[in-house]
Each structure stands twice: as C-alpha cells, then as structure tokens.
C-alpha cells in the first residue's frame, strides 16, 4: 500500500465520521479535531478504523501524533513495512 492508498482509506474513515466533509477541500495540514469538529468518540472511532483497515496498532500515547491528515498517513506509513 502506498501513501496515496493509505490517504484514501483515512479519508474514507473521516467521511464515515463526518459525512458532510468534502474530501477535496480537506486541508492535509489542518488540525482534524478543529477542522471536522471531532470529539473523543470520533477520535477513538478514527483510531479503531485505522487499526482495522490499515493493520497497525495505535496506542493511546500516540494519539497526539495523529493531529492532521498528513500526520495520520505518515504515522501509518512508518508503522508498516515498505510496499513491495
């Protein structure tokens, strides 16, 4: 899975949480919590989705690293073996 695939999966998870979101206008550097009005349940659901769909483990202490779309994609990529 390359970074674009990961990004698409994460955007899909975000759309489940915030259906009104327009993927085209989501700033990859924007704080997701502010941009999409995510509360703690939303964040937990996002993390659960990342674990489930992207097969990585995200411990609670790493939550602060998942601040933006770019940060989430980068975090997942760092956890996964490089794509063949």
């Amino acid at each position: 899975m390359n970074s674009q695939d990961i990004r698409e999966v994460v955007i899909g998870l975000l759309r489940d949480i915030a259906p009104e979101m327009d993927p085209a206008s989501l700033d990859p550097h924007a704080d997701l919590r502010d941009e999409l009005d995510l509360d703690s349940m939303d964040t937990l659901n996002l993390v659960a989705g990342v674990e489930r769909e992207l097969h990585v483990t995200v411990p609670e202490r790493d939550y602060p690293q998942l601040r933006t779309l770019d940060a989430v994609v980068g975090y997942v990529q760092a956890q996964r073996p490089p794509a063949s």
Partner: protein, 473 residues
C-alpha cells in the same frame, strides 16, 4: 404515535416496515417516524400478527394516535380503531382501550404504537358540532394564531374531520376576529419580515403581503408562513397537504429541531425550580487506571472517560431514589432502575438525549459499548423510539469542548441532570502538597420540588467516591 420527548406533539409516519398479516415480535422495528428532532425507528411492544395499519405513510398525526392493531395469537378478527379522535394531552395519554399493559417505566408516556385490543372497541363518534370540535394540537395552535373560534368550525375532511383548509377558510371569513387591531405594519419594509421568511416565501412563490407576524413588532417570521398559507412543496405521492409536515429540506429540519429544543428547554425553565451544586473531583487515579486498561487493548475495546462517568452516575443513582425518577401531576415517582439519558450533540447542531436502559446493571465495558452505539445512531440515524423514552436521570458531558463547568437544564419530566466539564490538569492539594492532578468539575442540577441540597450534595459526593475507585466500577 409515541411521545418521544417532553415537547413532542405530533409525528409523521414515514415508512411502514410491516404489512397486515405479518408476524411481529416484541422489540421489532415496525415503522419509521419523523419528528422535529430526528427520524426514529418505532418498535412494537407486543408479539403477534399485524392487523391493520391505521395511519398511512406520509401522514402527520398527534402523539397518542393509534398507528396499528396487533392481534394476539387467539384473536379471531381484527378490531379496528377509529383514529378520528385525537388526544388532547401532549404527553400522549391514549384512550384506555388502546393501551397495552402499563409500561414498567414510571413517567413514560404510554407507547401507543402497538395497541392490543382488550375487547370490542366502539367507534368514537365524530364531534364536529358546536361543542368542542376535535382539533389536533397542530390545528388547535393554528386556530389560536388565526383567532378562529374553534367551536364554529365545520369539518370537510373524511368523516367530518376538521382540516387545515377549514381553519384557514374560517380565518378569512368576515365573521372572524382579526388578530390585531390597527393597520398591520407592512412586512415589505425592512425589519418587518425575517430574512428566512423572505427566502422561504421566494422559494415557494409566495408574495409577502401586509400580514401581521409573531416576530418583534409584528414582523413575519418563518413560523408564521409555515403555519398558515405556505403552499406545500410538490408531493410526489400527492398526499393531503394539510397532513404533511414539510420538513424535507435540510433548513426546515434544522428549524424543526430548534423548535423542539426550544419547547423542551422553555418548559424545563418554566416549570422546574432548579438548584445547582458543584464539586471538583481528582480523577488522576481514574485516568491512570484507564490508561493502563487501554494500553493492553485494541482501540475497539478501549474505554473513554465518558464511560467511567456514566457508570459512576448510574451506580450512584441507585442509592439516591429521590434523584432518579420523574415529576408529573404534582408528585415525584421514583424509578425502579436507572435509565440513564446521555446528552449527545449532533453534527452541525442539535441535541438529543437518548437513554441507556437499566444502566445500573451494565458493566463498564457494556456501558462503553452502549455509548458508542448510541452516539453512532444519534449522529447517523437509527435511533429507536424506546431509546427516547423512559429516562430517569441524564448526564451532560461537555468535556470535549474544554469548558470547566456545565450548569445543566433538566430534561422534563426527570428531576436531575449531572454535568461534567473537561478533564484537565489542575493544581491540587494531595497528601499535604500542591501537585498537578487531572480533575473534573462535576455539577448537579436538580428539581427542588423532588429533592433538597443536602441530598444533592451527598449524591455528588457518592459519584466522586466511585470515580476515585475505578477498579470497582
């Protein structure tokens, strides 16, 4: 039509999921109903066979109107209900013959969505004559707003039923009393009609003529339009215009949600003498326990602090029956169990407080599962009627917003609401030293008719004590 909130007066039946002759079991979802706040799945409370569907899809009916007949196993023939008698009481009390055995939850408006005929039902005679014509609450308000004397109304609907057109026709008749003396201000002038009313009128092809509204200085507001002469949106199925609640456009749903919240909150503030208590609680032990619990588990099994709060409140409420129940008809009824309402904000605005039934019996992980499930269905659809009734106490947790303190508005007919602010690091005295601890400010808003401050204070202290022993929750 079940009452799904203190402020609910009518609902629109959107879709039937069953048909006559179909077997249903207690708890099955049989219809989707649209209310001001949400689209709700209505369950049936008896098992049996669907007899007759009494309300057609698209129809808006008052709370208490029988929706269908359910035949028990030994019923030979269906007993039709006459649906032309609407109930006057907004709380949803239905004629006794329509009620199943009383619900176990005190203060619960009887759910008349599945009446079991108790015996031969006599049709209710139509009373459209000079003495008390039957008006549903929606039309009654319309008649009041248009200053129409309800006793003079003649019904032209089926079976002599009074329709919206009848009320409006009576309002424009020479004999009706004009709603306001003196020349009405022209709404075409700036400030005489709200921007939303002007836009609504433009969308519907309506000209705003000189007409007095209910806004400031007689300004026309959207509510005036929808209540009176607003032409309905074209209906694909051609249903009776007077029965439809035109709520399809998103903005109308927002307006309807705010109206429902306005009614509930206004009633709460008008009727309930609130008292308020607050306590700061050191939750450092709870947060450490939570971190250790979550560290060992995948995200799908982790607990949020909200689940701890809910569980602590549910357990504490079992020890304080005067704070767990309902106030109706000038007296308090303590509930048997704890049906814990959870205030959940909807995306884009609006608020619902669905109920976790028997919360006192749920373990911490079960409470978390229930919370996750309720949040999902509150925000993305699928809430059930049984989840919007029977609440005995509610938690309003606004910690995610960062606020320190929540001074809550009690949800009638309940008598208490616990508020929680953000869990945040604060300077705290622990073992004689000033240290940094994570704390939360808990509040109690309580109905002074049902309890006094001393009891309320002990209740908050009980919650705090449980939060300090999270392993025992």
């Amino acid at each position: 039509m079940p009452s799904l909130g203190a402020e609910m007066e009518a609902g629109r039946l959107v879709t039937w999921y069953v048909e006559p002759g179909q077997q249903v079991h207690r708890g099955d979802v049989i219809a989707e109903v649209e209310t001001d706040k949400a689209d709700i799945d209505v369950e049936v409370f008896e098992s049996g066979t669907v007899g007759a569907l009494l309300v057609e899809e698209g129809a808006s009916v008052p709370v208490g109107t029988p929706l269908a007949t359910i035949l028990s196993a030994d019923e030979a023939t269906p007993q039709p209900h006459d649906t032309t008698e609407p109930t006057a009481a907004p709380s949803g009390a239905a004629p006794a013959a329509d009620l199943p055995s009383p619900a176990a939850h005190p203060g619960d408006a009887p759910l008349t969505s599945a009446p079991v005929p108790a015996g031969p039902i006599e049709p209710v005679p139509h009373r459209a004559g000079p003495t008390a014509p039957l008006l549903n609450p929606v039309l009654r308000r319309l008649a009041q707003r248009l200053a129409v004397d309800a006793s003079t109304l003649v019904g032209t609907g089926s079976g002599g039923r009074i329709t919206r057109a009848d009320v409006e026709r009576a309002a424009s008749a020479p004999g009706s009393v004009p709603p306001r003396r003196g020349p009405p201000p022209s709404p075409a002038q700036s400030g005489r009609s709200s921007p939303y009313a002007r836009r609504l009128a433009a969308e519907r092809g309506l000209t705003l003529t000189a007409r007095t509204g209910s806004g400031p200085d007689g300004a026309l507001v959207a509510a005036d339009l929808t209540a009176t002469v607003l032409p309905p949106l074209p209906s694909p199925s051609g249903r009776d215009a007077e029965d439809r609640v035109d709520a399809a456009p998103r903005e109308d749903r927002d307006v309807a949600m705010r109206r429902a919240i306005a009614r509930a909150m206004s009633r709460s503030k008008r009727e309930i003498p609130h008292y308020y208590l607050g306590e700061s609680v050191d939750v450092e032990p709870a947060m450490r326990w939570l971190a250790e619990h979550n560290d060992q588990r995948p995200a799908a099994e982790r607990l949020l602090p909200a689940a701890l709060l809910l569980t602590a409140v549910a357990r504490a409420a079992t020890s304080f029956p005067d704070l767990n129940g309902t106030w109706e008809d000038d007296r308090f009824t303590a509930a048997e169990g704890v049906n814990l309402g959870v205030a959940i904000a909807r995306r884009g605005g609006g608020l619902l407080a669905p109920v976790i039934h028997d919360a006192h019996e749920r373990s911490l992980p079960e409470m978390m599962t229930a919370l996750r499930d309720l949040v999902a269905r509150t925000r993305h659809g699928g809430l059930r009627a049984s989840e919007l009734t029977g609440g005995t106490i509610t938690l309003s947790n606004l910690g995610d917003t960062g606020v320190e303190t929540v001074v809550a508005v009690i949800h009638p007919p309940q008598v208490a609401m616990v508020g929680a602010g953000a869990i945040a690091e604060r300077p705290w005295v622990h073992d004689g030293h000033v240290v940094v601890r994570r704390c939360v400010h808990l509040t109690l808003a309580a109905d002074h008719r049902a309890s006094d401050g001393h009891l309320g204070g002990r209740f908050l202290a009980d919650i705090a004590a449980r939060l300090r022993r999270p392993d025992q929750l």
